[in-house]
Amino acid sequence: MLDNPTASASLLAELRQTLNAKTPSLPVIFQTGERIAEAANDPALLPADAKTQRVAVLGAITIDYLRRAVACAVVQEGVFPILYQAPYGSYVQEVLDPGSPLHGFAPELVVFATHWRDMVTPLPIGTSNEEVEAVLDSKVGLFRGLWNQCIGKGARIVQHLLVPPAQRYCGVAERLAPAAPANQIRRLNEKLLQAGRGLVHWIDMEGLSNELGFRRFSPAKFYYSAKLDFDPRWLPDYLPMFRAAWRAANARAKKVLVLDLDNTLWGGVIGDDGVEGIALGSASAAGEAFEDWQRYLKGLSDRGVVLAVCSKNAPETAATGFTHASSVLKREDFAAFECSWNDKAGGLKRIAKDLNLGIDSFVFADDNPAECDLVRQELPEVAVVHLGTDPSQFIDIFDAGHWLDMQAYTTEDLGRAAAYTARAAALAEQAEATDIGSYLAGLAMKGRLYVPEEPDIGRVAQLELKTNQFNVTTRRYSEAAIREFLGRDDAIVLAFRLADRFGDHGLVSTLIAFHEGDTLRIDSWLMSCRVFSRSAEQYILRGLMQMAQDRGATRLMGEYLATPKNDVVADVYTRMGFSAADDAFFVRELDAGNHDLVTYIAE
């Protein structure tokens, strides 16, 4: 009777709007978190057509506040959480006991909120480094066991890094003692980060505590009176950090930063003030702040963030700002440059199309509140940062959003921005080339198809997690699963690298296949969207056909499982000369040769 999906979908929209209108206060987080939990308890209120996720929050301390904050953060990301909170202090048992209520709940995401008091071992201060390391390794072993239990059941993991305590005992002497509580925790954080690479998505609570000051962040009275990890007044600062880890865990990382020009990258209006008139460089306080902000943005670009411009300006005058002697950023640092007098929502859509990237991977930063509001309304999937009017605060305001936080760097991240800029240049060439064949031939592409080695495995797992468009089955194999496949005789794991005359695109495609009788079945195949339509598909299949023949297989089988995002490969197997066996499977016999698979990529 109460089954009304529209009402519940609008509940999600309403809650999301409440939380995203401005930074939510502690009482708003508390009360909204409660409403979310109540709605999840009442099946009639559950959004029928909105995406839901089963989230378990586990901790060594009181996590009632944290659970509410997690609920709000997941709603801010557009997903409705169904929450489970483990009884106080019971998280280890809950995870290790297969019959526990936690496993009955069957979480899709598990949040571990650890606490330093739980993790410090009382050791004599003179304990040797080797002994301390051994104690810490056993704690890492415990977590490894917990993670494996969760991952084995298909859950993703978000975990708090530990906050080292500020007790100073005998002062500087403590700094040099491995057994000192703060040193135990710092070292344990490092070990956990290493052990959890590719498995765990971290929230840097140590970073937040350092930023605010330990005694402000975590006054002991909250622990003594309510067993709270930190003063709940900082929950509004926790939300964006949780969201960053959540996006990493759910393959929704932001990749592109779109910037305005006037009063965002320099002070003043380039069209009115001219290159000499804008505030940039050490001649003024504001100019120095803009220069530093540009240096920060250049740093983001060096770390793989794709930069773009969306500005209301005449294109020919707009770019002259980057010729200013103090401009750190140059025109060629931007993969897209959208200057027009049209509205910015339209500009962002055009940039998404040019770069072939989902608009939900965009962050938009502007000094103008009206432009920010317009984009928030028209494109709720875009993260909007209103920079305000004081350039000395831009970096802090931008940082606080944690929009571009990453879990680890890979070599491909570090080359990505250059590859996209190269793609933009290639697109401009494409407009001039007369036909696609001569265009592709003119790119002078070189490819390499090979079995990935140790340094590549992190990137292969990252592609599995992040690729949404060219992903035929979206099975999302973990780093551990890929290692397992690499050790199996019946499995083939392949990586593909591509370079062209504009730049090195790095490791851009992976394929996993299984040899079953006379058939080689492609179980997973994905490709970075920046190299679509480059004839890489043909190149990879030619290589795979050779390998299949060498193994004595007589046919290839492909599988396509539709998701809301992988339309682009719905017909990939039919385009590649496979015939449909049924709704999901496609077959290509090997004896017919490979002459139809034309590629412009050389070895």
Partner: protein
């Protein structure tokens, strides 16, 4: 310092209509004033009035009367 009247602040923090809070309210008479929300109320008082409450004051501040008394001792209420 610019902040809402105390009763509005308490009601807003507890998530109840202002009419449900009066000078004689305390933890035992207001259903939503539980131990979890009490901690939140204390941290909101600290932020709003720019003061720091001791462990003991947090334990004692369980009624509107006691909160007023503590704020006036601190010279902010």
């Amino acid at each position: 310092m610019d902040h809402p009247p105390l009763l509005d602040l308490i009601a807003g923090t507890l998530g109840i209509p202002a009419a449900e809070i009066s000078e004689s309210s305390d933890m035992s008479s207001v259903k939503k004033w539980d131990s979890l929300r009490h901690v939140m109320l204390m941290t909101e008082l600290e932020t709003t009035y720019g003061i720091e409450l001791s462990d003991r004051e947090m334990t004692e501040a369980t009624s509107v009367t006691m909160i007023r008394q503590i704020l006036s001792q601190r010279g902010v209420g």
